[in-house]
């Protein structure tokens, strides 16, 4: 379950910006894993982005482990073993952490429902009332000019 969660955490952002072409260079995988890990000496930068020496060394370790046959999940699991959950730049989506992943979407869903309900309730009441045809910009312009002329 844990492995799956880590894989999910790794893959989702990858899918978001486009999966790497098949047979990807090892370097790209290193970068993708590094983008998921937090640089421990910086403030909120990923290991991929950070220019610090420590991040450089961490990238080296990722590279070495991949070359040694580890899968991406195993590399991430190694870092989590050593540093704790904190080293992952986005919280693994299980347990308490699900809160931060689901609340925003739940909020959007709830908000949409509220808007839908409210408009339905109101439009039910005003359906009898005729609504004037809205004016498009061209007509609006003409009316403005004509009114200005009239006013003068």
């Amino acid at each position: 379950m844990r492995r799956a969660a880590l894989a999910l955490a790794l893959l989702l952002p990858v899918l978001a910006w486009g999966a790497p072409p098949p047979g990807a260079v090892n370097e790209e995988t290193v970068r993708q894993i590094a983008a998921q890990l937090r640089c421990v000496v910086c403030q909120n930068l990923s290991v991929a982005d950070s220019p610090s020496e420590m991040a450089n060394q961490m990238r080296g370790i990722i590279r070495e482990r991949l070359q040694g046959g580890d899968t991406a999940e195993q590399v991430m699991a190694y870092f989590v073993d050593k540093y704790g959950e904190w080293i992952l730049l986005s919280p693994p989506p299980r347990g308490f952490n699900l809160l931060v992943w689901t609340l925003p979407f739940a909020g959007i869903g709830g908000g949409l429902l509220v808007i839908l309900m409210l408009t339905r309730r109101w439009s039910r009441r005003t359906r009898e009332r005729p609504v004037a045809e809205p004016v498009d910009p061209a007509t609006r312009e003409r009316i403005r000019r004509e009114m200005t002329e009239l006013g003068q």
């Binding site: 421990v40 000496v41 020496e53 420590m54 060394q57 961490m58 080296g60 370790i61 070495e64 870092f79 073993d81 050593k82 540093y83 704790g84 904190w86 509220v114 409210l118």
Partner: protein, 192 residues
């Protein structure tokens, strides 16, 4: 949000709902304020180590004085593993004499102090060792493997490893004589 949306309806219920529930808005702020106040008591930079209680990762370091040191060779002894760097000022400079003193005091009693120099270059490292007349074994970690193996996120950090090879305590920041003596004495007393 309910009130102004339904107040044009000739219904009494929404108004009552507003009257009873309107104070919920300001009151809901309070849990947030409590959480933020809690934040004053935490240190955002202190990361608890998951390695305490686990077996210390084996490593092999090439010493500045020549030769190699393997952690495995030190089994049965209490090991004080210190991570430092020459640019780490002032903390590493404060604790260097403490560690040397500790080494001198305890080295005949089954205690080994080992220093690992990380993210550093040779010349300033040697200068640092000379400045404090360090005699306990020290070696560099050029690839950072040892530091990551121990979950190091800054310098200085010191690990107290017991005779069975388990990490028993991680100390972040400069070590003091008190801390050194207390931890070493505790681990020695436990026997093997």
């Amino acid at each position: 949000m309910n009130s102004q949306l339904v107040s044009t309806l000739p219904a009494k219920d929404p108004r009552r709902l507003w009257r009873r529930g309107k104070w919920a808005i300001p009151l809901s702020i309070i849990p947030l304020l409590v959480l933020l106040a809690y934040g004053f008591w935490t240190d955002p930079r202190a990361i608890p180590s998951p390695l305490v209680g686990k077996p210390a990762a084996p490593f092999s370091v090439a010493l500045f004085d020549g030769g190699r040191l393997n952690l495995g060779d030190l089994k049965g002894k209490v090991v004080v593993l210190n991570f430092w760097a020459s640019w780490c000022y002032p903390a590493c400079y404060e604790e260097a004499p403490v560690l040397e003193r500790g080494w001198q005091t305890w080295k005949d009693r089954d205690v080994v102090v080992v220093g690992v120099d990380i993210q550093d270059t040779e010349e300033p490292a040697r200068k640092f060792l000379k400045q404090f007349s360090i005699t306990f074994p020290n070696g560099p970690d050029p690839t950072g493997k040892i530091s990551v193996d121990y979950g190091v996120y800054g310098v200085p950090e010191t690990f107290f490893i017991d005779r069975a090879g388990r990490i028993r305590k991680k100390h972040v920041g400069a070590v003091t004589d008190d801390v050194f003596t207390r931890e070493v004495a505790r681990l020695l007393k436990e026997g093997s």
